[in-house]
Symmetry: C2
Subunit: 756 residues, 2 copies
């Protein structure tokens, strides 16, 4: 058999070498490949414009340089062995990336060396595949063949399908038949029927799996595979409670599966993806590239109109889930630094531009990305940029609902922008977010000009850094990063939300109470969480107030807790940098002990403790040359804890970031009310400290009843009164509240007024 195969390859080689002429005649008929992403028609148009569209030409030239360099090396298709970051893993990644580009180059330049490269490499894979066992690394719940997990195998197939499509019509039929039969159809079966626990989920992993099977199905005109991709496997007799190695359920509770189910369920009608932007970014490529392929080959499906155009909305949502530098907010598991400069967003922006309304704001993002997808979508973007059609992409304050019906809470983003000065507050009151979700109901993070002011820790992982657990999740992701105490939100009795139980967390979501950004100088978002701690209601309201023309807005944070029993409540603030001043006394210990034993507390060193002893504490810090102050209403007995991440971290996996925790002891109800202000700057060159003191003098809780909470914010210039209706969020209700013998009447769920 082996000898027989060798002869076959030899024959193939001879055949193909014979037609080694530089220019390839392209048949424009419909069955003619390529017809997946590139089409015979679009190739013809693109070729006619080569050399005339600078950004497209530049991107093509870079691809050409990369592939030409790869072509100088021998083809390497090593027997799979390594984890992420290791040699075989990296080599197979390089292989599919190179084949993908080579396919495009073959079509756009007509140079057959690219086709030959793909063919030869595919034959190597076909030689290896039939006898390949599952990958020897045992870490995944769904081990792949070429990689340690099926996810990476699916990446391989999504990109390779496109390369294969580009040479399909060029290959002799017996060769494509051979590859279909020996490599591609078995591979698609392997990723689906042979690995149902991977293929049949609602999860970004499965989206990749669905799309891999669907793309190769489209190339091979194999409708069985395409349908399998779209609708999933038929329900099997499987354990619906099985979990993957991230701790997520293997099967959807409703038993749905396939590409369309993955569009239905994790996406909200606003285009928010419940796993969070980091995984949305990862999933955007298969979602959109398969959509483009379906649009080309199955236009009747009208995939871009599916669920009222959710794919287009998803791109817009994702671009808005970034800070001023384009970096994604690390909601749930998210590696910091990932941004809309990533390749999948280049693709997403170009596809959204082409198949959407040619929104010129998308062009300004494409311009920053400085590259395009090498197909008709990228060509159109590059053409538009060459005639300066772009308009600024201005991120607005917005709410993104969560849940497939948009009724499972959401994300509220409040923004301020004045020239280069930006603030962004991200408030999370969404659902669990599948297996990548964090236990952080009503948590928030704050950004200034693309820098974190109060951070969300993100994930605990060094993606693709082999030395750190093969690039995979670190155990501290579960023991710390996902725990409630790792976030800027209330922790009751030092226990995480839902007692860190994934099944319970997955059944529940927070509820929006208010979202009103109609007045840019007073933007408010408010939400409730009644399930995280049974018997306890958490209600948090966050407001971005711009009180003075010449000052930045500050944040009012009102965190109400009421329970049927007395509890301890902790509210952490993960700041950065150095402590400049406090208005309360504290002690620092001679030795450091962890703050607790579990739920993430075991990872916090207790660096100091104070008792508030005043009505309003102040805490000022300096980070990246800016002064920030939290002024928080306190009761005299409230504890202030200084803590730092890093305890019980035997492999130094965690960042040693600090936090300030306000702790209220043994209370049935409590209000954490504070103002967070970015008020000053330090310049190390002029050595000038400007506005090193916060303008906020105090924050007090004047009233806290079941129905109303009233907060007073005092500055040197004025007193501001905030009244919140706690139980009636209707905008037309008339309220009357008496505070210090004075009556206040207002319509709607809140009142805010400043007096000099």
């Amino acid at each position: 058999m082996n000898n027989y195969l060798k002869l076959f390859f030899l024959a193939v080689l001879i055949t193909s070498c014979a037609k080694n002429s530089k220019e390839l005649p392209v048949d424009a008929s419909n069955d003619q490949h390529p017809n997946l992403i590139l089409t015979t028609k679009s190739v013809s148009e693109i070729k006619s414009k080569l050399g005339k569209v600078p950004l497209f030409d530049a991107t093509l030239e870079k691809a050409k340089q990369a592939v030409d360099a790869a072509l100088e090396k021998e083809i390497a298709v090593p027997i799979p062995k390594d984890m992420a970051g290791g040699y075989t893993h990296t080599q197979h990644k390089i292989n599919y990336a190179t084949m993908h580009k080579a396919g495009i180059l073959f079509q756009l330049t007509g140079d057959q060396k690219y086709a030959i490269y793909i063919r030869d490499m595919l034959l190597e894979y076909a030689k290896m595949f039939p006898t390949l066992p599952r990958h020897p690394q045992m870490r995944s719940y769904a081990r792949g063949k070429i990689f340690w997990q099926c996810l990476n195998d699916s990446n391989w197939l999504v990109y390779t399908s496109q390369a294969y499509d580009c040479i399909y019509s060029w290959l002799p039929k017996e060769q494509s038949d051979y590859l279909n039969k020996t490599l591609f159809r078995p591979y698609a079966d392997f990723l689906s029927v042979e690995t149902p626990q991977y293929f049949n989920r609602v999860h970004n992993h499965s989206t990749w799996g669905n799309v891999a099977v669907g793309m190769i199905g489209l190339v091979m005109n194999d409708d069985e595979l395409v349908n399998r991709a779209l609708y999933g496997l038929k329900k099997e007799d499987v354990d619906l409670k099985a979990k993957d190695n991230d701790g997520g359920f293997i099967f959807d509770k409703d038993g749905k599966a396939g590409f369309l189910a993955n569009l239905d369920s994790p996406f909200s009608p606003d285009g928010f993806y419940t796993e969070g932007p980091y995984y949305q970014r990862y999933a955007m490529y298969p979602f959109l590239i398969f959509a483009e392929a379906l649009q080309n080959k199955k236009p009747d499906l009208k995939i871009f109109e599916y669920k009222e155009g959710v794919l287009m909305k998803a791109v817009d949502a994702l671009l808005n889930l970034t800070d001023a530098d384009g970096e994604f907010f690390p909601l749930n598991d998210g590696q910091k630094g990932m941004s809309y400069y990533t390749a999948s967003l280049v693709s997403a922006v170009d596809i959204a531009y082409y198949y959407g309304n040619q929104d010129p704001a998308l062009l300004s993002v494409a311009k920053k990305q400085n590259k395009v997808q090498l197909d008709i979508t990228g060509l159109r973007v590059a053409e538009a940029l060459s005639t300066n059609k772009e308009k600024p992409f201005i991120k607005q304050s917005m709410e993104l609902s969560d849940g497939s019906q948009g009724d499972e809470g959401g994300i509220g983003i409040l923004r301020h922008q004045k020239k280069d000065e930006t603030l962004a507050l991200v408030f999370k009151y969404s659902a669990q977010g599948l297996s990548h979700g964090h236990y952080d109901k009503l948590s928030f993070s704050l950004y200034e000009n693309g820098e974190e002011v109060l951070q969300d820790y993100g994930l605990s992982r060094f993606v693709n850094v082999e030395q750190k657990n093969g690039g995979g999740y670190l155990k501290e992701n579960k023991t710390f990063a996902k725990q409630t105490i790792a976030h800027n939100t209330i922790v009751q009795d030092q226990t995480s939300h839902f007692k860190y139980d994934f099944a319970t967390g997955s059944k529940n979501h927070s509820d929006k109470y208010l979202f009103d950004v109609s007045n840019p100088d007073f933007q408010i978002v408010s939400a409730k969480e009644i399930n995280a701690y049974p018997g306890t209601e958490l209600h948090r309201t966050m407001i971005m107030v711009k009180d003075a023309n010449d000052a930045k807005p500050y944040i009012i944070d009102v965190n109400r807790v009421q329970s049927n029993k007395a509890h301890t409540f902790d509210l952490p603030h993960y700041y950065f940098g150095q402590i400049i001043a406090t208005n309360f006394a504290y002690q620092t210990p001679k030795q450091l002990l962890p703050l607790g034993k579990k739920y993430g507390y075991q990872h916090l060193w207790n660096e100091g403790m104070g008792i508030a002893n005043v009505e309003s504490i102040q805490f000022t810090w300096l980070h990246h040359q800016k002064f920030y102050t939290i002024t928080a209403a306190t009761q005299k007995e409230d504890e202030i804890l200084f803590a730092r991440i890093g305890a019980n971290d035997p492999e130094f996996n965690l960042r040693k970031d600090p936090t300030l925790i306000i702790r209220k002891q043994a209370a049935k109800k409590a209000v954490f009310a504070s103002v967070i202000a970015s008020h000053g700057t330090y310049n190390p060159v002029t050595e000038k400290a400007d506005n090193a003191y916060t303008p906020i003098e105090s924050v007090k809780v004047l009233v806290d009843t079941k129905a109303y909470t009233a907060i007073e914010v005092v500055t040197s210039e004025k007193n501001s009164l905030l009244i919140l209706s706690n139980e009636d969020n209707a905008s037309d209700t008339m309220h009357r509240v008496t505070i210090n013998n004075k009556d206040y009447r207002f319509q709607g769920a809140y009142y805010y007024k400043s007096t000099k």
Copy 2:
């Protein structure tokens, strides 16, 4: 008397209002003011060129906007009360800065409103001065009148003298007589004869004092003051052992004082200022502005030729003591972030250009600074820039000797530059550095592209941040930042160099052993320290080796210690970021304890401990998306300590930076030999880790005798052998060393060869 004064002011006001015409006739005679920095001649030239020299015009326009804004506010000359950062301190700083600019504007625009502003403000000061006691804040060894320390009062007088000079000829003589008698002469006496412990030192403080007295002396044509400034007060009957509040001696051991003594003694012939670049930067302004004034009024003094042109050399030295971003290396007390963008360096660069050789490399620095001094020097720079005369300022590897004769050790800087890729190693083997000196013989720091790789902690102070000890030095500056353990150098028996005794430290300096940068691929610096620990010789050699064309250079660090008794030796490495991997096992404690009780060890938390147990340990970390590894030759029993700054820091004054300490126990001699490599990058957008593993496989000590030390560095590609002659640094000596039965012969103090 008060009423009499009021009448006098009224009369003055009426008089001056009468001549409120917009254009001022300028007399070009020599006695005519201005003649200090601006001169009647230069004013005339500058005015003729206004509107034609863009950078000069832009700088002038900014000054005009600042002053015009200040003119709209009422003059405020408050009774002094506050520390640095407080209201009265800040206001008086604003006052002198505004007067300084207003004087220039008066001269260059002729608009009398500027002159009137200065006059009115000076009259306020004159009203207040006669009855003003020393400042109520008691912290300084030399309390000022307007400020808490005479230093700031001198700043006031240096700038105000220039403003005064600009309006001197415009003022009625009786008014200048009044100001001379009531304000300026008494102020000059106050800063000198009344405060000899401040005025008569060799110290940057005194330079400011000398120049303040000298500048106002030149304005008033008061030769007694000018001579006092140049030569100091006559020796008084004072306590020569008195110390200031930085712990520095009040009086020079040789009893020298005055401006020239401050040029003689702290400057080496290479222009290195013994206190370090941070204070050199601070002193450059008075040094150079007074030099310019002397050149204008006392050209016979030939001040720019003094000590073979040391002032010009000082500017060059200072520009070279910066990282790739222009930030000064924080040798001794230095606040990080201070850079050549500071105003005193704008002045220094312009003055050096004008009075030096019109070096076009200085222009490229001026271009980055993007402003010029508003006098003839700045005009010339701006003119040259307007015709694109600048050339790049390329920082070279260089040695800067320390000591007034250049024989007290020095600073060795090894650099690598290849396009935007730069490395800079700063090796310190200088003298104590006066009261701002740190106890860090043979310490080093390493920079890559303007970022710190292995840091010098710098000072512990938040300059001008009032909340932090009034902006002054924090006590942790003495208890930590100045201590040896805060630096990347050897600590014996957990005790600082010279037992942290300033008198002993001040008597000693390290000695250069080698400095050879003639081969850019093998740059070597070596120095010895025999006094820091009596009975112990420290000998450190640092080499920047570029072994491969496509790789960055790495650092070989050979630290030899030999003593007449057994000691413990610690070598810290202050890295940043996160630990990625080690090749040795370690334990992390359940609770953190300080590493020691004194000499700075009390400020380090012990975060972990391992035993080397291998011949060569490896430690890899990731910082700012770069991978670094230290590979260090070890003996099996060597301890590796993981520590972090922050223990016993009750006000959170310290940065919580980490360090890795290699500890050799109870040894009479030891060699710490290591290779420090910047070898890889991590990209969070592509999530690719490139070269995450160091190419260095091991570092071994093959030989260590009194005469020779031989080190082997093994990479996957080659073995490199380094032999150092330990006692003979002559370049012509022939050496013969036998290693593993093989003879090596070489000429000069070192041998280096790689074999594949």
